[in-house]
């Protein structure tokens, strides 16, 4: 099924969030942007399904 899952899906949300923030530790703003872009591309490839990715993209644009 190509539906974007927006229900809680982390076994431990706080572990994930800490890992995400730690990934950026010591990076300049420019480096952080680069790292974020690469991270998005890696995860997008993992998901693969373009319809899911399009839903995520439009959700990301809400209230911007």
């Amino acid at each position: 099924m190509s539906i974007l899952n927006k229900e809680p899906n982390f076994a431990n949300p706080d572990d994930f969030y800490e890992a995400l923030i730690d990934m950026h530790a010591g990076l300049s703003e420019e480096q952080s942007h680069k790292a974020n872009a690469r991270l998005i591309l890696l995860l997008a490839n993992h998901i693969g399904d373009l319809s899911i990715l399009r839903t995520a993209m439009s959700d990301a644009l809400v209230d911007l």
């Binding site: 927006k6 809680p8 899906n9 982390f10 706080d14 994930f16 969030y17 923030i21 703003e29 959700d59």
Partner: protein, 558 residues
């Protein structure tokens, strides 16, 4: 005078009498089993717990009054259960304000609501808010009931030396100084612990470069009895605000100020009143009860035990205030320490039992520090990029359930499960649910002698065994078998009421206890004096219980 009916103003002005100690009046040199330094919630809890177990204690405090301001405020379910055992749980709950629900706001909008006790069938709520001076007052009142508990005010420890069999303290009083010895010392003298300093020890960790204003505000208001947390609200832009209800029409408000704020200026009414007014609206009348500006650190001592000196509470570990993990974890330290210390002093267990205090509570401190550090990092982002992610989480949380789980305004105090403790007997049988060895025993409603009761008040202080059976004949055999283990309390649990001569029979009339413990016929739980699970089996067998007792009390191998 009964303290429990006293008013807040009375508590704040209470001065306790200093009594010239026997060591000065008679120039005697006394040795006590235990000296406790610091009569805050942790020191008082330790003193009462030990006195209940017949241990003679001297409790020293450098001051002679209760704490100033609401301070600890949020007392968690597990702490209330410990206070029940110590004798003041009912008073704390009756005077306090019970709450289970927290709400989180981002800018103008509510984004997330959580319920910390989503199920029924527990005696105590997730939290009770009560000013620390009340809690200390109730504990003090309990403490005065024990002749073996000697509470000495205006007694400041100025020197400490120890050897293999005990420690010698020099204590300064209004009548000069004296020395006093003890087999063991408990240092519960707070984050700036003088015992820790005298011993040249450190509490190490991360200091957060941020300042918070805390204001106790007296007013008539119609906010619900919930914990409200704002990220970046319009009335206090770019910072966070936390609102809690206290008894006596007092409200606690915490304003994040940032590192550059001047603590002396921020404490003045001219600065505080407009901040509070901005939150409440221009027409709300209020008075300030107590104001303070604080910073914090997440830190702990490497080891909580140094020879004959045991550190507990803020003296041993410090956390940020967002999880209500300070006083709560300190009282849980006391709960863990005192039964072990009493057994060692009575010669019922080797010193190895005492060293598990450090193992278990250092683990708990790490858990508290981890949770409180993460909350602090979320609330006060340290870089532009972490602010960006924080705000993205808050934006997404308005629409998407997954993001609400990432919002962290404080993960509130829960007791630790000592999963890796050497005192546990690991499971051999298959069980579902959270009650694995090391876990704090869950509460449930039961019937006792045809009256409604709760499970937790029926066990604790001693080791106990809970056995599930619906057969009268099996129950009678259990009672007979348990006669060979006189130090272990036996509780038989059944669906319909059973009757035994010398054994407590609990009726699980709602089936909740059976469900929460994943119990079947003959399921047996072995519970420590601090109400943590030590072992569990699918069958009842006296020799395995005895072996589990040996493990749970760190006896040498046979």
């Amino acid at each position: 005078m009964t303290l429990s009916t006293a008013t807040a103003a009375h508590y704040q002005n209470l001065k306790f009498d200093y009594i010239k100690p026997v060591e000065i009046t008679q120039s005697t040199a006394s040795t006590y089993p235990v000296i406790i330094v610091g009569a805050g919630p942790v020191g008082l809890s330790c003193a009462i717990d030990l006195a209940r177990q017949g241990v003679q204690v001297v409790l020293l405090d450098d001051d002679n009054c209760l704490s100033v301001g609401s301070r600890a405020l949020c007392f968690a379910k597990r702490t209330l259960e410990i206070f029940d055992r110590l004798g003041c749980g009912e008073q704390v709950v009756n005077k306090g304000i019970a709450w289970n629900v927290g709400k989180v706001f981002f800018k103008d909008d509510p984004v997330y609501t959580f319920n910390l006790l989503p199920e029924q069938g527990h005696q105590r709520p997730a939290f009770v808010n009560l000013q620390q001076y009340y809690v200390e007052g109730y504990l003090y009142e309990c403490a005065t009931q024990y002749p073996q508990l000697d509470l000495r005010w205006k007694s400041k420890v100025v020197a400490l030396e120890q050897n293999e069999s005990g420690a010698k303290l020099t204590v300064e009083t209004p009548d000069g100084s004296y020395t006093i010895s003890a087999q063991y010392v408990i240092a519960a003298d707070g984050s700036r612990s003088s015992v820790r300093n005298l011993m040249g020890l450190e509490s190490k960790g991360r200091v957060f470069r941020d300042r918070f204003l805390i204001a106790d505000v007296k007013m008539q208001a119609d906010f619900p009895t919930e914990r409200w947390f704002w990220f970046d609200p319009p009335f206090h832009p770019n910072q966070s605000v936390l609102l809690h209800r206290e008894p006596d029409d007092v409200w606690r408000i915490d304003f994040q100020l940032g590192w550059d704020a001047d603590p002396e200026i921020e404490k003045t009414p001219e600065k505080v009143i407009p901040r509070v007014q901005a939150l409440l609206g221009a027409d709300v009348k209020f008075t300030l009860e107590w104001v303070s500006v604080y910073t914090f650190a997440c830190m702990r001592m490497d080891k909580f035990q140094h020879g004959r000196v045991l550190f507990a509470g803020d003296a041993a570990h410090g956390v940020s205030p967002f999880g209500a993990r300070g006083a709560n974890s300190g009282v849980q330290d006391a709960d863990n320490l005192c039964w072990k210390l009493a057994m060692v002093l009575k010669g019922q267990a080797p010193q190895a039992l005492l060293s598990t205090y450090g193992d278990e509570r250092e683990f708990a401190a790490d858990e508290n520090i981890l949770n409180s550090t993460r909350a602090t990092d979320f609330i006060t982002p340290k870089s532009k990029i972490s602010q960006l992610f924080r705000d993205a989480v808050l934006d997404l949380s308005k629409h998407h359930p997954f993001a609400r789980r990432l919002v962290n305004s404080g993960r509130l105090s829960l007791p630790s499960t000592y999963s890796h403790s050497v005192l546990n007997t690991p499971d051999q049988d298959v069980f579902a649910g959270a009650m694995s060895p090391g876990a704090p025993l869950v509460d449930a409603p039961v019937r006792l002698q045809e009256k409604d009761a709760w499970l937790l008040p029926q066990c604790g202080e001693k080791f106990s065994v809970l056995v599930f059976t619906d057969e009268q004949s099996v129950a009678e055999k259990i009672e007979k078998d348990m006669q060979s283990l006189p130090d272990i309390e036996c509780l038989v649990i059944s669906k319909t009421a059973l009757k035994l001569k010398n054994t407590l029979c609990l009726q699980d009339h709602q089936g909740l206890l059976t469900a929460r413990l994943d119990a079947q016929a003959n399921t047996t739980y072995f519970i420590r004096p601090d109400q943590h699970v030590a072992a569990r089996w699918r069958s009842f067998d006296v020799s395995t219980i005895q072996q589990a007792w040996r493990t749970a009390t760190a006896q040498e191998e046979m």
